[in-house]
Subunit: 372 residues, 2 copies
């Protein structure tokens, strides 16, 4: 079998107004105007695999990745290192899982190989260790009133918790109180200001006020991650778990070595490609830390790949966010991800288990090209 | 496909006299009188998979593992967690890769699945990232004269380095000098007393004497691993890399958090099942540490599984030891592992790529039973 071509759709899918932020805080997300690329890796057989890039990735990187794959036999590709040239690797070259548009092509190659072998992608990652993956509802910056309405919507969809974006200047106590009044203290809130609380003292003061509400799950990235002394202070002082959002294992090791080797996190929000996530989760697991999978308001294929990655990571027991399905006008896959009781069933179809919705794709495509 | 039976051979294969220790230091190894179990997992098809336990594993554990697998479809087993019952897993159960005779059954199940899918086992681990795996010659406690002769033998076999067992009371300087006189300073020696140097001061003093020889690769486990303060002292003082032999990621994290979060190792000798090794290596990789794969004078199947595991770990760039082939009277596999220029070619046949030598097996079997 040979990879013969890569089809690329450059798309922009708007978010649903009000679904991310309350208009009082931000009229538009802005980021939903940044293009993404949907790719389909074709072969000389009936098999193909699909993938999705991150926002704003230069198309030249997609073209470069295609050049590295076209002509190759997908069965001969090293799954954890799809662009690696095994035979040519220098003895001290430890870089794997990198290269142009890596994450998108990893999705597509594993989707393709999984379809050929009639295996779900998680089997190629070491295998699912659970039949369903925890997932929370998600929203951006919302007023207490809008937040309460959003939580009502999350409850109707079966979610048991929510992750919120926020800043100190917003009515934090009122927002979490409004959510608790709607859903009770068991419906947990992950507080993620994306490093926007300026100082450790502010984060600790806020934590003290929120504690009485009883519905905080975790504080994520309260202050800039460069302020390790601040994390040490927060970690010692706050009554609930402290997390960092980390894209690689090096970051996890830094967090574990902080505070004189005692570490500053109780859990981690992890990213990385599907194999990269397994490696990053293994680092957290070795330190006894649970983790969850982050996301970026994606378009269905990425979210699905996150579910496979989360299902295969033993310590991915916290609520991940697979968000695109309810924040975007369309998710570009034929059957959207389903949520049942705050979980996503582990996909069991061959490959990623999702298919492109070509009608939707056509609606949102700004540019299409075929590389071969 | 169903697993229908497990065949178990309990074997004792003696070492070749003098090949491990000089008779002056130890007349026999002793451990070669401790039985191992060779297992074959049979199915209702022509496919089977083979595995090997560690020394001295109670046979009841082999029987218990068989009970957990018989009747199951190997294609439905989670590769990284072969005894896991995915659907029944509690939300907070993070234990994977454990259970009775885990390592041996993991070998056998992956061998079986690899044969069915016509894929080498490393592909199931994420894929080989290199076409050959570094490996060193190996010996036990040898006099300077015997050590020099052993190095000559290692050189004839194409090795570029050697790992030695030792204690302070042996003529360490004379032994390494004899090796250097035979092979030059480029032929490196891994000094592994298995925690038998009593104090940090002794290890540092010895390192100072050996430094002038120029042929030390690394100091491994010089003192008891519980003496972390001692490791901190050694790590700051010695002129070559310091390593620990660690069986799991928790141990690696402890070593990284030592010395106030600065860490006390420059590289690690890792063990674990094949998937376990990938996880452990990922922890070391996140800290920027290279690693190698340990071994235990095994009988061919285990050694082969180590080669697959090492080939799939990006940071496994140091010389591993796959030793059984030259220390034991027989390795019980039909075609022994080959060494070329201090490397083992990455196996590319389906499954583990090694087959049982039934004639040899019969010669060394003390007990045979068929579980079904």
């Amino acid at each position: 079998m040979k990879i013969t071509a890569v089809s690329v759709w450059t798309v922009v899918v708007p978010t649903i107004p009000g679904r991310v932020h309350s208009p009082e805080y931000a009229e538009k997300t802005g980021w939903d105007e940044v293009p993404k690329h949907i790719i389909r890796v074709d072969t000389d057989t009936e098999y193909a695999g699909i993938g999705e890039t991150g926002r704003g990735l230069p198309i030249e990187q997609v073209r470069e990745g295609a050049r590295l794959l076209i002509g190759r036999d997908p069965e001969e590709i090293t799954p954890q290192d799809i662009f690696g040239r095994r035979a040519e690797r220098a003895a001290d070259d430890l870089t794997v899982g990198t290269g142009p548009a890596y994450d998108a092509y990893e999705m597509a190659v594993l989707d393709l190989v999984g379809r050929v072998r009639r295996l779900p992608v998680h089997t190629l990652l070491g295998g699912a260790v659970r039949d369903r993956v925890r997932a929370d509802y998600w929203m951006g910056h919302q007023t207490p009133e809008d937040g309460a309405k959003a939580v009502e919507r999350g409850l109707r969809l079966g979610f048991t918790g929510v992750k919120i974006k926020c800043r100190l200047e917003e009515p934090m106590y009122e927002r979490l109180k409004a959510m608790r009044d709607v859903a009770g203290p068991e419906f947990k809130v992950t507080v993620d200001p994306n490093e926007r609380f300026y100082t450790a003292a502010q984060a600790i003061e806020l934590a003290g006020r929120l504690e009485t509400l009883g519905n905080v799950e975790v504080f994520e990235d309260p202050i800039p991650k460069t302020d390790i002394a601040g994390y040490e202070e927060i970690h010692r002082a706050i009554p609930f778990p402290l997390a960092m959002h980390l894209g690689n294992g090096e970051g996890v090791v830094r967090a574990l070595q902080a505070d004189g080797g005692r570490g500053v996190v109780d859990c981690v929000n992890l990213g990385g490609s599907m194999f990269g996530f397994q490696r990053n989760a293994a680092v957290a697991a070795a330190a006894g830390l649970p983790c969850w999978h982050g996301s970026g308001n994606d378009l269905g294929i990425s979210d699905t790949s996150f579910v496979h990655a989360a299902a295969a990571a033993p310590n991915c027991t916290m609520a991940s966010d697979f968000v695109g399905g309810w924040t975007r006008e369309d998710d570009l896959i034929a059957e959207p991800i389903t949520f049942v009781d705050g979980h996503v069933p582990t996909p069991m179809k061959p490959g990623l288990g999702c298919d492109l919705d070509y009608d939707a794709l056509q609606r949102y495509t700004q540019q299409h090209e075929e590389l071969n």
